[in-house]
């Protein structure tokens, strides 16, 4: 990929223009997802998931199309690919109003995500939330 945004745009749709740039989480090419492979068990549910690399590629495409905030969302998503479902849902729950007792609980979660999963962009989002929640008094229990 060059630094010319037009080059990134020319890769879209990736499944048609640059299928070789995406793989399954298990390293198989897109072309491996055939009915025969599903029937033989060669392809399972673990193969049908997007990778951080594909999301970062889509982020470059979005940015090249002038959609910077969408690109940032894709980058946060790339952070979350390897985060287990339960931890994502628990973090979502923690960000809801009145769930965290205090800012520290949110900051701890940010630290964990950054440390264990390299999820720096998601961690930054949570730290920003901790700051605003403190100022707006959102650590009040709701039920």
């Amino acid at each position: 990929m060059s630094d010319d945004p037009a080059d990134d745009l020319s890769l879209y749709p990736v499944s048609e223009k640059a299928p070789e740039r995406v793989r399954t989480p298990t390293g198989k090419p897109l072309s491996a997802l055939t009915l025969e492979a599903v029937l033989s068990g060669e392809i399972g549910p673990e193969d049908v998931a997007i990778t951080p690399e594909a999301l970062l590629l889509q982020a470059r495409i979005a940015r090249a199309a002038g959609r910077a905030t969408l690109a940032e969302n894709f980058e946060r998503a790339a952070d979350l690919v390897r985060v287990p479902q339960e931890l994502i849902l628990d973090t979502y729950e923690l960000l809801r109003p009145g769930r965290a007792r205090d800012a520290q609980q949110l900051l701890d979660r940010a630290t964990l995500l950054r440390r264990d999963y390299g999820a720096a962009r998601v961690a930054a989002l949570i730290e920003e939330a901790a700051d605003v929640y403190t100022r707006r008094g959102l650590f009040v229990k709701r039920y």
Binding site: L9, Y12, P13, V14, S15, E16, P19, V22, R23, T24, L30, L33, L35, V38, L39, P45, D47, V48, A49, I50, T51, A54, L55, L57, Q58, I61, A62, A65, G66, R67, T69, L70, E72, N73, F74, R76, A77, A78, D79, L80, V81, Q85, I88, L89, T91, Y92, L95, R96, P97, G98, V122, L125, I126, E128, A129, V132, Y133, R136, L138, R142
Partner: protein
Amino acid sequence: MSEARKDGAAPASNRWRRFGEWDARPLRQDLFAAENPEAGFSVFRSPHDPAPSLTIEDGRVSVMDGKAAGDFDIIDAFIAAHHIDPEMAPVAMAMDPGAIARMLVDINVPRQDLEALARGLTPARLAEVVGRLSALEITFAYAKMRQRQSPGNQAHVTNAKDDPLQLAADSATAVALGFDEIETTMRVASNGWANALACTVGAAVGRGGVLFQCSIEEAEELQIGLAGLASYAETVSVYGTERAFIDGDDTPWSKALLTAAYASRGIKARCTSGAASELLMGFHEKRSLLYLEARCLCLQRAMGVQGTQNGGIDGAPLTASMAGGVRELMAENLIAVWLGLECASGNDTRTSESEIRVGAKITPYLLAGSDLICSGFGSIKKYDNSFNPSLFNGEEIEDYLVLQRDFQADGGLTPVDEDQVLGVRMRAVEALADVMDELGLAKVGRDRLLSVVFASGSQETESFTAGEVTPISAQIKARGITAVDVVRALARRGYEPEAENLLLMLRQRLSGDYLQTSSIVRDGRVMSAINDPNTYRGPQTGYRMSAPRWDAVQGIRNVLTRERVLAAEDIKDAAEVDWLVARGTAGRGTDPNEVVIGVSPGFARQLHRTTAGHRLEDVAEALVGGIAEGGGTARLVRMLHTADTSFLGLAAARLSGSGYGIGIQAKGTTVLHQADRMPHLNIELFSNAPLASLDHYRALGRNAARYTHGEAPEPVVVPTQGEALGARFHVRVALLYAIETALTDPAADPVELDYRPDAGGANV
């Protein structure tokens, strides 16, 4: 009135009765609300809305829309941090809002330039600018600013029993109708997994490639999506006031995390917001609907979601109750697309009991196009819609198809024929039954399948009840059944095309192509704002239907071709009937009580029935009989020089010994004329032939005879109840009349006809 005053009693009804009739119309069930900003009822502008303003210090927003950063609520804070582009903002905020409004409707200003400006505008300024546009200008600006070039539509597929068989059949039907997305929800929350499985299988029947979502609690929805049993999500709701947001049990940061979580699982997501949601939730801060919605939309762009379901949504009926409310719904959609968001543009809630208001509501969207014109068109019947009735529903799909055809506007739907629908419905229920069997979820009897295939709605089915579905749904979830299992089950049971369709959607998930703005999947290919961008720049640009697409849109049921009309009419090759025999050129009569009946060139030769369905033999008998009853003598003459009613009548009158004549066309239009009159100044006329009875013809004959005796009979009035006769008959009339005009010969003499009623029944 005066009598009531004299005796002092109250009049029975001191009221123009038309008001009573108006009271009984469906419209009057709608409520209409007065403007009241203190109570949250203001549409475009409230005195409590802030004046637009923006101050940036050291690259950070320090004041926005009159509020200092230290006072920002959660929405302000997120918008200031993630929406406002500090480089664009000083330029955009310094511009005259009127100039920006004009740029929105200027075909010479590219969409991308305006999107760049929007990134520097605050919510209050965005609302101020679109508030300067009329409804027509908003529609035009929307057509220019919307993101994907090709318009699309989304279906609701639900039913009152959560019956998976019906969900599958109705999903397949929705696919056949051309919907790009299908959204389901449940009557019973625990049936979510069964609903998702059923719609996934049904949506794989036919062309495939349809995006599908299951609207349910956020965590559950993410789980269903992760299992591949949903490909997009739409329930990321946001609100325009802090208190409403918190009562919605979220914050911009929790929603931003959820949005990223969907993308991390390869699931397309859009947010939901719409006018009056804050008002319904009791926290409106006395702000106008549009200003609060502008906040919601800036927030959505800030969160990095690709699109929005926007335009009132659940608050649409309340918004539409206010003056200018429907214009506001359009204005907020315009802000959405101006911010570069995909817009599923509302039109998903029944905003009125008036069919006229419903039709008017959808029209600007049909004309402008939209990424998804309805964020839920009720493809099922109203009572089966678990979201609540949509603006358009199963009952009204054909009305919508005709609107597309009327305006030559692509509303995203395609007409279907009866065999095609039965085919896909049968295929869908069989496929689902086999998948459920293959996965050990349920065995379904043939009777259930058939009851669903032919049913218009769940009130007619003998199938699963909501309670029966719950354990199936629980099993799907507990056993971790995924779309890959469904692909396998479909293929094993011989549903290879459906298995391939579903696999295609799973393969798309790997590339993430449909995560980009305004994505849909057609013919196995992702189309989005990136590879199918809206390029509207004035006439002959932007989206136009291709010739095959326009052909498809025209293909509504029962379109009359000339051949079909003529085949249904009683049309013969030119031949003489034995009850009306030609015998030479007709001359002028001398009988002072004679009434000449001048028939048209094709009368009882090529054409044998009036548009009311009367056989011409019976019509002739009624006219002749009536003339006799009135003391006259009838004589029949065929005119060949004209087929026009007035001239038939006048020519007949000029041949008549009395000077009175009747002209009649084969389609039944009849005139009573007098020899000295101007052609179009007749005595009596039956212009609405479809309403004329044989008794009317008889009475007209009687009147004609009485005129010959110098009497002045009461004219025959054919009563009308205001039927749209043109809509009902003119296609037939035009084609039938063309047969008659083709037979005319300006030089031909009238032909004397020998009327032989006793020949009887020979005009077969």
